[in-house]
């Protein structure tokens, strides 16, 4: 009944002018959305375009062209040979993999303790953990820098990785997820004589896989983009990560200012994350809307 009425009103109301107005509105919305999409995509287009222009072609364009008819891969060759781009790349992969692995172990154990185990002082400990979320990284980086320097860990992977491991927020996120798993599973496992560690490994982690994937990816993105800490504790090029590498390329570069080769390096650095994003779009976007922090 209600539906019928609505339809009737609609039919009476949709006059010519209303239809025109609706079409105009749709067009404006569509144009606006497309405009922003172009704003987002253009820098990516420009970096790919510039990276396939040859050095001489790029420098002869006083008015930069929007396309090129003679693409070349020379810049990519240069990016890998003239600067240790592959080295930066491997460093970042090592850094990201080890950091994420350590983070996962620490986070899963702590989240399990908070979600499943009972021990004296648990609530106090959890409150303290939560309050740690408010501490900005900028505040603690100073002492960490001094600590790592005094321990002689500058220009080592240990120095790079250790302070980057923990994220209180991920412990919180995973604890919430662990708590949603029914208690019965845990008691059943206990009756069967399964140890806590085995229950954690065989039941909890597989059941909560989506959240674990999410925090893994978020941490990996964080590692790939981290700039400040690596800049502080490394000044030996052999330990540079991609962010520092790109800054190094920008400042000392290819001997001469070679923008196309620089852009080739930028493309190479950007591709892994974009591939990761395309593969895990859903998990990444769900994870960020639940607890992204950038921006």
């Amino acid at each position: 009944m209600v539906f019928d009425m609505e339809k009737q009103i609609d039919f009476e109301k949709i006059g010519r002018s209303d239809r025109v107005r609706r079409i105009i509105l749709k067009t404006v919305v569509c144009a606006g959305l497309t405009f922003w999409a172009l704003v987002v995509l253009f820098p990516f287009y420009w970096m790919v375009l510039t990276s396939v222009k040859s050095y001489s072609a790029y420098n002869s364009e006083y008015i930069p062209k929007l396309f090129t008819l003679s693409p070349t891969l020379q810049n990519y060759r240069e990016a890998f040979t003239a600067v240790p781009l592959a080295g930066y790349f491997i460093n970042t992969v090592i850094f990201a993999v080890v950091t994420v692995a350590l983070m996962l172990v620490v986070t899963v154990l702590a989240a399990f303790a908070f979600a499943r185990l009972n021990f004296p002082g648990k609530h106090l400990a959890f409150t303290l953990f939560l309050s740690l979320m408010m501490i900005p990284n900028e505040l603690v980086v100073i002492t960490n820098y001094v600590t790592i320097t005094n321990l002689g860990l500058r220009n080592t992977f240990t120095g790079l990785i250790l302070p980057s491991v923990t994220s209180v927020f991920y412990i919180y996120l995973l604890k919430e997820n662990f708590e949603q798993v029914p208690d019965q599973l845990y008691y059943a496992a206990k009756v069967d004589g399964t140890s806590d560690l085995k229950y954690l490994r065989k039941v909890l982690v597989p059941v909560c896989k989506p959240t674990i994937v999410t925090i893994t990816i978020l941490k990996a993105v964080e590692c790939w983009n981290s700039y400040v800490w690596p800049r502080l504790v490394t000044d030996d090029e052999a330990y540079f990560l991609v962010s520092n590498g790109i800054q190094e390329i920008r400042e000392n570069g290819f001997g001469r200012e070679n923008i196309p080769a620089m852009m080739a390096a930028v493309v190479v650095i950007s591709v892994p994350l974009i591939v990761l994003f395309v593969l895990f779009r859903g998990a990444i976007m769900a994870g960020v809307s639940r607890g992204g922090t950038k921006g």
């Binding site: 606006g32 930069p64 303790a113 900028e138 603690v140 800049r231 962010s243 930028v266 650095i269």
Partner: protein, 298 residues
């Protein structure tokens, strides 16, 4: 403590060790540093305790410059990016075709390396003797003269920094607002439609109040994020931000700690604590103001 109690703490041990060593201890330490006067990094000695470090930082023209830049950045980018994200999300929710494609595209800046893409922005905006750059070409079409956005005047540089910051923070805001808009109960809209309410009125009277908690959240995180701006500026203007007049508070902290002008952890600590106090104050003010005006419980 019995065996069971020990076990819980055992599982927590790795987290406690990491957090204690790299988060709690540094927090206390940075407070101590900030009050130790004349700290010498090499010999690790100091000759007094007091407020001198704070006074030095507050009288340092570079810090004041950084403070000014950061405030301009915050005041410009937070409202603009939030409003723009609201507009785009509202558009997205009323526009069905290609929605998921647009959503994916809008999210891209989130997963890119800030420094790498900042380099692209620099090249788009830069004017050199050899080329005016792409942006100046567009400005040429509308008759505006070539402007050097990277090494030129202060307003031009500030403009690019704000623009790039907005470009970087938009994905998060659009994503959060889109899901907030989608979660508004459809029945309110149906009721309004039956009453023949205009689109604008529906937006102002139903949509905005319903998503206001999300907006408050975005504004607060936006403020916090913008106050900590640093790598965007490095990406555009290089590491020597003081010379470029484009330093931010966080940049000042790092410059004091490390690099050609570094080696002063006391000054760095004082500046970092000042930053923390500013951010904390603004967050509290934000919360108080929003609590007064919020139509719908947080």
């Amino acid at each position: 403590m019995d065996k069971k109690g020990m076990k819980g703490w055992l599982y927590l041990l790795p987290a406690i060790l990491f957090l204690g060593f790299f988060l709690v201890y540094p927090l206390i330490d940075v407070l101590i540093y900030s009050f130790e006067e004349g700290y010498n990094f090499a010999s690790q000695t100091y000759y007094g305790v007091g407020l001198y470090n704070y006074s030095y930082v507050l009288h340092d023209p570079y810090f004041l410059q950084a403070l000014r830049n950061t405030f301009i950045l915050v005041v410009v980018t937070v409202p603009l990016s939030t409003a723009l994200a609201l507009l785009i999300s509202a558009g997205l929710s009323s526009f069905r075709p290609l929605r998921s494609l647009y959503q994916t595209v809008y999210f891209l800046p989130y997963v890119t390396n800030t420094l790498a893409v900042g380099l692209v922005f620099m090249i788009l905006f830069r004017k050199t003797p050899y080329t005016d750059g792409f942006v100046n070409r567009i400005l040429g079409w509308i008759g505006a003269g070539p402007i050097d956005f990277i090494d030129g005047s202060y307003p031009a540089k500030m403009f690019v920094l704000c623009l790039y910051t907005i470009w970087v923070v938009m994905p998060f805001k659009i994503l959060v607002l889109t899901s907030a808009l989608a979660s508004v109960n459809q029945e309110y809209y149906n009721a309004a439609k039956v009453d023949g309410t205009s689109r604008f009125r529906i937006f102002a009277r139903i949509t905005l109040p319903m998503i206001s908690p999300t907006l408050v959240y975005l504004i607060i995180t936006g403020f916090i994020g913008a106050f900590k701006a640093y790598s965007d500026a490095v990406a555009l203007f290089g590491t020597n931000l003081n010379t470029a007049e484009m330093n931010t508070i966080v940049g000042y902290v790092y410059d004091m700690l490390y690099g050609s002008s570094g080696g002063y952890p006391s000054y760095a600590s004082a500046a970092a604590i000042l930053l923390f106090v500013i951010v904390l104050t603004i967050t509290c003010v934000n919360l108080m103001v929003s609590r007064k005006h919020l139509h719908y419980g947080v």
